[in-house]
């Protein structure tokens, strides 16, 4: 890990990859470090709003993360209809039939690595390493809420309608974002996700 300053009162910790970032995120939470915002990402963890960033940097540098076990998150099932407009494009990229793509997606247990892009937009990891997907070269001006998409190694569900370049393979009726709720995101980081036929 490399600990970097990000302005006066924040640290950005570079990790070897998602696994280490996930472990560090869990460790910061386990230790109850006082942060205003704690933002895990694909290979980093941001700690924002620290009273003593230099002291915290020193502290983190001494942590041993190997021993950390990520606590199993809550499991959410998302009933999904696999009729997305890009199902054929994904099948072509993977050299599979459309039904094989759907079966692989259904057989995978995903985990929310982090959120970003839009409120409640959860980057879910879990597909085999060789099953990555190139984004659409021509992003859509509007992707409907509930669309299930793939990009790079990730799967996500659009919580609200927005522009987007992910390859859309299906849709779910489940509401992923409710700003009026105490727990506004259905899929916060750490949540386990399974797609089931809807």
């Amino acid at each position: 890990m490399t600990v970097r300053r990000a302005g006066r009162d924040a640290l950005l910790v570079d990790c070897a990859g998602l696994e280490e970032a996930t472990a560090l995120h869990a460790e910061v939470r386990r230790r109850g470090l006082a942060v205003r915002d704690l933002v895990p990402a694909a290979a980093t963890v941001l700690l924002d709003g620290l009273a003593d960033p230099a002291g915290t940097a020193e502290q983190i540098g001494a942590w041993r993360l190997e021993a950390v076990e990520t606590p199993p998150g809550r499991l959410v099932e998302l009933p999904t209809t696999y009729d997305g407009p890009d199902l054929g494009a994904v099948a072509d990229q993977w050299g599979l039939t459309e039904e094989d793509v759907v079966e692989l997606h259904l057989a995978t247990e995903f985990r929310v690595a982090f959120c970003g892009f839009a409120p409640g937009f959860a980057y879910c990891t879990g597909l085999p390493e060789d099953r990555t997907v190139a984004r659409r070269s021509d992003p859509r001006a509007s992707v409907p809420a509930g669309s299930v998409g793939l990009a790079g190694p990730w799967t996500a569900v659009y919580p609200t309608a927005s522009p987007g370049g992910w390859q859309l393979i299906g849709r779910t009726e489940v509401r992923l974002w409710d700003a009026g709720s105490e727990q506004p995101a259905l899929l916060p980081p750490g949540t386990r996700v399974r797609f089931v036929r809807g």
Partner: protein
């Protein structure tokens, strides 16, 4: 103020006669939700909002109005108190020109008219009792990036105002000139750029671009030369991050910034200089001073 006033004012409302180019409700934002992809939002010139609130006797973090380029007319449905701060703009209450930074009473049916700023860009209005729209995730702020919070004001809107104290401060404040130099603390990704181009940051003069908004202050000028190729996986961003996209145009991320981004952040603007970022106008010249 007489005895009746010191017992406080009941909740009331303001009628938006003219909303101007872009007026939004802002308080000190909704930090703590970045991990869910929710921008922090809040007043871009936070010291100006806090001052306006102090002047009318509100808690400093009460919700007020942020008016881009003025052009706003408000009508009080009951007598209330207001203070206007931020950009230097002509403000009239019942047709009478106000000095900058004082709290004044507005009678029932009275109008507050905010003209176009002659210095700065964003005017802040505090009302005794605060703007009392329903909070979303702990804040009444409008976040223009994600659409969280109330919609920007439209002509004819009625804005609820909370119960007031009716005890404005008799303090006066003076406008501070807008800083033209932003202090930049290098990192976290300064090592993505050549040391020569980092040194050049301090020599260059940048121009505020017209496509700046609540998401970011965009600066045209000398780009930065990368010391390495490749892409950065998306990572968390802090307020004031200066991102360098391939176009080379620097973007200083302001309150409605995305919570993560994939272009390298060369440095972060010091918190005290963010108010200037809210008030710099398109075409203004800006310099950067590096803190290492």
């Amino acid at each position: 103020m007489g005895d009746a006033a010191s017992t406080g004012r009941p909740p009331t409302s303001l009628r938006v006669v003219s909303a101007g180019p872009q007026t939004t409700v802002q308080d000190c934002g909704r930090p703590g939700y970045a991990h869910l992809g929710v921008p922090r939002s809040g007043a871009l010139d936070e010291p100006a909002l806090r001052l306006a609130n102090r002047l009318v006797g509100n808690p400093e973090d009460a919700a007020g109005l942020e008016c881009l380029l003025g052009g706003v007319v408000l009508e009080a449905e009951a007598s209330t108190g207001v203070a206007v701060t931020g950009a230097f703009a002509p403000v009239r209450v019942e047709g009478r020109l106000l000095p900058w930074g004082v709290a004044v009473g507005v009678p029932r049916g009275g109008r507050v008219e905010i003209g176009a700023p002659t210095q700065g860009l964003r005017v802040y209005v505090a009302v005794d009792g605060g703007i009392d729209v329903p909070p979303v995730l702990g804040s009444r702020s409008t976040d223009v990036l994600s659409g969280t919070g109330p919609a920007p004001l439209a002509d004819g809107d009625r804005l609820p105002v909370g119960a007031g104290r009716g005890a404005p401060s008799d303090a006066e404040a003076a406008p501070v000139p807008v800083r033209r130099e932003l202090r930049l603390r290098l990192g976290p990704r300064d090592d993505w750029f050549t040391s020569a181009s980092l040194a050049g940051l301090e020599q260059a003069t940048y121009t505020v671009s017209g496509d700046s908004n609540r998401v970011g202050l965009r600066l045209d000028g000398a780009g930065l030369e990368r010391a390495r190729d490749g892409e950065l996986p998306s990572e968390g961003l802090v307020l004031g991050s200066v991102q360098v996209p391939p176009s080379g145009q620097l973007v200083v991320f302001l309150a409605d910034h995305p919570t993560t981004g994939g272009y390298p952040v060369v440095g972060v603007v010091e918190p005290e200089d963010l108010a200037a970022c809210a008030q710099l106008r398109p075409g203004d010249a800006v310099r950067l001073r590096l803190l290492r």
